[in-house]
């Protein structure tokens, strides 16, 4: 495919795959990265468009291991087209789509439908995730090899756990020659029962059924034991409790093939937000309490959990950040807290909210980029590492962002059909300026400044 030549000048280039963090230029052409570093004028072909990168960060495009694009089946909540625009706006160049669609992604035909839809409608790469079990029902293994051959990124019954321990054991064993991870939504439903938010003082005060941390930790512990006995590849989806971090740390210390992801909201938002004050240390339920946009699985938890997760992410115990972008229609959220659907629309706020951790010096910028790029790529497998580097000669999937840009979240401006986020109206600092997939600019945001084209000034 013919794509234009672009050069980004004087940007801060962060490439965790090469331990690179320096100010320089990056030249893109033919869909590939051609060169990085200090590029002299003579190394830039005529006709190349020039982007002024001063004050901006250039990094490999973000890879989201976990999002819900809702198509097929729930197009009133999200579509591949809208979800991919939202992803591009959020700096994501690759989105892994969870299979809790209708029909679920449990056979090659559905995989091919999504791939076809993606070619037609999507601006970013879409990698379908295949179900672990047929119909995502938790009784029989899906045809995992057929799914793998069709190109799924990994396996998951997300939205539900693989609840039966023996079936999880068999899934880890059966898939061990396929090279793909099993991403489990770790929730022991006999412990989470009817819970709608994290167990704790806020849940007690609001009279909402609590979900204990043990509902997650018990299943992670189970899955680690199964990964150990089978040698399978376990990936823990949306890890959310302080107690889960040492479980994963210890599994890694023992050399098991266990990885984990954490979501932006679990790193930045607490259960206090359910009281309606956007996290202000309110002790009474204001009239805005029971904000259903805070209802998500796993639930928002305490400050103690948030701090442990940030530390686990900074330490590398948690491998990557995944959004668990879960868009919903308004009607699914304009009901009582108990009736509201679980999920937050995350793609467009992810970077802005995560940059808070960098601004507060809790996470380095390089680590943040790593956990959004190389971290998830490693979990997907060797062949995906090309999407997480700025190495010359590789595919030009790139994000350009302004770490200092302050903006106010306005869901009416969302590309996603899901406007469900507790961050609506909050101020974030850090915003995507442009997203490039295969050398083509797929999102061109505020702050993108072209200089005169080289040779045509």
């Amino acid at each position: 495919m013919e794509t234009e030549s672009l050069v980004i000048r004087q940007a801060r280039i962060i490439d965790p795959s090469r331990d690179l963090d320096q100010v320089g230029d990056i030249l893109i052409g033919n869909g590939e990265i051609l060169a990085t570093g200090s590029l002299g004028s003579d190394s830039i072909p005529d006709g190349t468009r020039v982007i002024d990168g001063t004050g901006l960060v250039v990094a490999p495009g973000f890879i989201d291991l976990h999002c819900h694009l809702r198509e097929p089946g729930f197009e009133y909540k999200e579509t591949i087209a809208a979800g991919s625009r939202a992803g591009a706006k959020g700096g994501f160049t690759t989105l892994c789509a969870m299979p809790n669609t209708d029909p679920p992604i449990d056979n090659a035909a559905v995989v091919e439908f999504i791939q076809q839809k993606a070619r037609q409608d999507s601006k970013v790469r879409i990698l379908p995730i295949g179900c672990v079990t047929k119909g995502r029902k938790g009784y029989e293994l899906s045809e995992m090899e057929e799914l793998a051959s069709a190109g799924v990124a990994c396996f998951s019954d997300d939205g539900d756990p693989v609840f039966d321990a023996n079936l999880m054991k068999l899934a880890l064993t059966y898939s061990s020659d396929l090279g793909l991870a099993i991403s489990n939504h770790c929730q022991d439903k006999s412990l989470s029962c009817n819970g709608v938010m994290a167990e704790g003082p806020v849940a007690t005060h609001l009279g909402l059924d609590g979900i204990p941390a043990a509902a997650e930790e018990a299943m992670i512990a189970r899955d680690i034991a199964l990964a150990e006995s089978t040698g399978g590849r376990l990936h823990v989806a949306h890890l959310s409790t302080a107690g889960s971090v040492p479980l994963v740390r210890e599994a890694k210390d023992r050399g098991l093939s266990v990885t984990a992801e954490v979501c932006p909201h679990h790193l930045t938002v607490t259960d206090q937000w359910v009281l309606g004050g956007k996290g202000a240390s309110a002790s009474v339920a204001g009239s805005l309490a029971y904000d259903t946009s805070t209802k998500v699985y796993p639930p928002l938890r305490s400050l103690n959990d948030v701090e442990a997760l940030i530390k686990g992410l900074a330490d590398g115990v948690i491998d990557c950040i995944a959004t668990d972008h879960a868009p919903h229609d308004l009607t699914s959220k304009q009901v009582t807290y108990q009736d509201a659907a679980f999920g937050i629309s995350v793609l467009e706020t992810a970077l802005g909210s995560l940059m808070q951790l960098v601004h507060e010096s809790k996470l380095s910028m390089v680590a943040l980029v790593d956990r959004l790029t190389l971290g998830p790529a490693k979990i997907l497998g060797e062949s995906y590492k090309e999407l997480a580097t700025l190495q010359p000669g590789t595919t030009a999937d790139i994000v350009i962002f302004d770490p200092e840009h302050e903006w106010t979240v306005d869901t009416s401006q969302f590309e996603s059909k899901g406007k469900n986020t507790p961050l609506d109206g909050t101020k974030l600092k850090g915003r995507v300026v442009a997203t490039i997939v295969g050398g083509t600019i797929v999102y061109d945001g505020p702050g993108l400044q072209f200089q005169a084209e080289k040779g045509r000034a």
Binding site: E199, P201, V202, H205, L206, L208, G286, S287, T331, Y337
Partner: protein
């Protein structure tokens, strides 16, 4: 400050107008100050006087429309709101989920918007989901909302009538020991009572099976409890010990389904350990009040002789409930636009 709508005696008008905080909704007790609770108590006293008259009717809410919107069964709360509204001359319309468009799948929000469009002034709502009154308060513009019990969350009017009852009998709550026995975990009454009693200076001790206590209610790290009521609630699973020197003993309804859900080994064991009996009550202070929010399971959480014995103020609670609800309906429904 003057009221454009008057009750027919100057004393009542004066009592209602004095120092009253104007609020649009009653959703929970957690945003009531001690002063505001005192104001409600004073108003309720005037209202109780009205209830004692031969002709129980004052024109305070004439021309106002109150809807009671009940998604759960109720005897005393619904009837007492209806009576309260009618004594104040409001037009009261009762609506229950069964027989309404809810059965056709109409959402709570759309039902609320429909009622608002009919020009209703106040909705009194009971709903099995915690926070349902907040949804209406957030989405409706002109209607006042009173929470008549939402899920496990709150039952603020019950707590206010309980405070009224204790105050009326014991002269105040400061320093009094109040023991609440039973299924605190699933009780909105307990949640609101703990809040209200502690706020008014009482010492609250919970007793019952540990499986039926919200664990974090008792944690020292519970900043919500700490910062709002300034003291920790105590828990003692041994009722015989907890009841020592109590001024008030409140038994909570034990729903029999809790046994099936595994919270209890058997009703028999519950009765043995936590039924409020004559023998246990003898350990409390002489003249201790026995309360129950109703409906009672006599013979389970409370013995028959206690429920109807000399210490019981259970029927007082019901009477006072009408007075307290009159006060709240009046405050909320007349609203700030009626005052200058």
């Amino acid at each position: 400050m003057s009221l454009s709508r008057t009750i027919d005696t100057p004393e009542i008008e004066e009592a209602l107008a004095a120092g009253t905080t104007i609020r649009k909704h009653v959703l929970d007790l957690d945003d009531f100050s001690r002063e505001e609770i005192h104001d409600v108590m004073n108003s309720a006293r005037s209202m109780k006087e009205v209830l004692g008259r031969d002709i129980k009717k004052v024109p305070a809410l004439r021309g106002k429309v109150v809807v009671t919107l009940f998604y759960e069964a109720s005897t005393r709360t619904r009837i007492s709101f209806e009576e309260a509204g009618k004594v104040l001359s409001a037009d009261v319309i009762n609506m229950s989920a069964s027989g309404s468009s809810t059965e056709k799948g109409e959402s709570l929000l759309n039902t609320g918007l429909t009622i608002q469009a009919m020009g209703v002034d106040t909705i009194v709502i009971r709903h099995p989901h915690s926070g349902a009154p907040y949804l209406l308060a957030q989405e409706l513009d002109t209607v006042n909302i009173i929470n008549a019990g939402d899920g496990l969350h709150a039952h603020p009017t019950q707590a206010l009538l309980d405070i009224y009852t204790v105050q009326d009998r014991l002269g105040g709550l400061e320093g009094k020991k109040i023991v609440i026995v039973g299924d605190v975990l699933h009780s909105r009454v307990a949640r609101s009572d703990i809040w209200g009693f502690a706020k008014m200076g009482a010492k609250v001790v919970l007793s019952g099976p540990t499986t039926l206590m919200p664990p974090d209610l008792l944690l020292a790290s519970n900043s919500i409890i700490q910062s709002t009521i300034g003291s920790l609630v105590e828990f003692d699973s041994d009722l015989d010990q907890a009841i020592e020197g109590a001024d008030v003993v409140m038994a909570l309804r034990l729903q029999q389904e809790r046994q099936n859900a595994g919270f209890l080994p058997s009703l028999r064991e519950y009765i043995r350990r936590w039924q409020v009996t004559d023998e246990r009550l003898s350990r409390a202070n002489p003249g201790a009040l026995v309360m129950h929010p109703g409906p009672m399971n006599e013979g389970i959480e409370i013995s028959n002789s206690i429920a109807h014995g000399g210490n019981s103020v259970i029927e007082d609670q019901v009477t006072n409930g009408v007075a307290v609800r009159m006060a709240l309906l009046y405050h909320v429904t007349t609203g700030p636009t009626q005052l200058d």
